[in-house]
């Protein structure tokens, strides 16, 4: 049982991400790559994900405004977005990406637009949660430091 209150809060926050379905096992696997040589690996990966994928989000937004709808182009963008999102374990975002692609395949314009709004919500929610998590992790410090005797 973690005695450091910040660490405990961090653990609970992290557990909630999995319990509430925001993240899946892939995120854990990224954490396991983090070590003394790469102490901020996960945060760097997540930062890179949001930086890169924001361009895709913009491309999809622009494509949704064009007439007529190019479902193939939308599907291609979302295919790429789904790949990145699954690589950080963004479970809800990945699920919405899959649904969006289903709507593209069936040529359902309204479905695409509705789904994209939900996807953006999940994407933004996860970002806020992870930003708060990494900020708390920095405050809590590394495990070894927290346990080091005075």
């Amino acid at each position: 049982m973690e005695r450091n209150p910040l660490r405990r809060q961090l653990q609970m926050m992290r557990k909630s991400f999995f319990d509430q379905g925001y993240l899946d096992d892939q995120f854990v696997q990224l954490e396991e790559l983090q070590d003394e040589a790469n102490p901020n690996f996960v945060e760097e990966v997540v930062t890179l994900y949001y930086r890169d994928s924001s361009r895709l989000i913009l491309s999809i937004e622009q494509a949704l405004e064009r007439k007529p709808f190019d479902f193939n182009k939308l599907d291609a963008y979302m295919h790429q977005f789904k790949g990145s999102s699954s690589s950080i374990g963004a479970k809800k975002v990945k699920a919405e990406s899959t649904l969006f692609r289903e709507y593209c395949k069936s040529g359902n314009k309204e479905g695409c637009m509705r789904c994209f709004q939900q996807l953006k919500k999940e994407y933004a929610t996860l970002r806020k949660k992870l930003e708060a998590y990494f900020q708390l992790a920095r405050q809590a410090g590394p495990m070894e430091t927290a346990c080091r005797p005075k």
Binding site: E2, R7, L10, Q11, R14, F18, D25, Q26, V28, Q29, E31, E32, L33, Q34, D35, N38, P39, F41, V42, V45, L48, Y49, D52, S53, A76, H79, Q80, K82, G83, S84, S86, S87, G89, Y133, F134, A137, A140, P142, M143
Partner: protein, 153 residues
């Protein structure tokens, strides 16, 4: 051995006990890898993962560059290649690489998940079709196999 259900308890930077963790494997040989992915994030992430295992890893962002690199004589123990690539797609790039007589392990790592895509990629010449993300349960046995191909010192 199948990975256990999620039993991660510790927070960021803590020790996590589970089979097939990224850090469990230690390679005896210096293996080389090529990552072919048009998506900047996925390419860098896969490179980072392979490098964390100790593989010397190069990357290219399109199929044509992959074919050119191999045609120039570059040799790799492992190639990770995406299906959807700019300039030359992953299917054709794989066919051309195999046609050059390259027999190394090739993994088709893609966001596609359909059976049709799987069959197409396997027919093109990849050894394994992997839906993104590439996890240790797939990667570790392959790295062990590749490492074992080299004689023990």
């Amino acid at each position: 051995m199948a990975p256990a259900a999620d039993e991660a308890k510790s927070g960021n930077g803590g020790q996590i006990q589970r089979p097939f963790t990224f850090n469990e494997i230690v390679l005896r040989n210096r293996l080389t890898a090529l990552v072919v992915d048009g998506d900047n994030f996925c390419r860098l992430l896969q490179q980072g993962i392979l490098q964390a295992y100790g593989l010397q890893t190069q990357t290219v962002d399109n199929g044509d560059a992959a074919v050119e690199l191999i045609a120039s004589g570059a040799k790799f123990d492992l190639i990770l290649i995406d299906m959807l690539l700019p300039i030359l797609d992953g299917l054709e790039a794989t066919r051309r690489i195999r046609a050059m007589g390259v027999n190394c392990k090739m993994l088709g790592v893609t966001a596609f998940s359909g059976e049709r895509e799987r069959q197409a990629f396997l027919a093109a010449g990849v050894d394994l079709f992997v839906e993104k993300p590439l996890g240790p349960e797939v990667l570790i046995p392959i790295l062990r196999e590749l490492d074992g191909q080299y004689p023990s010192i």
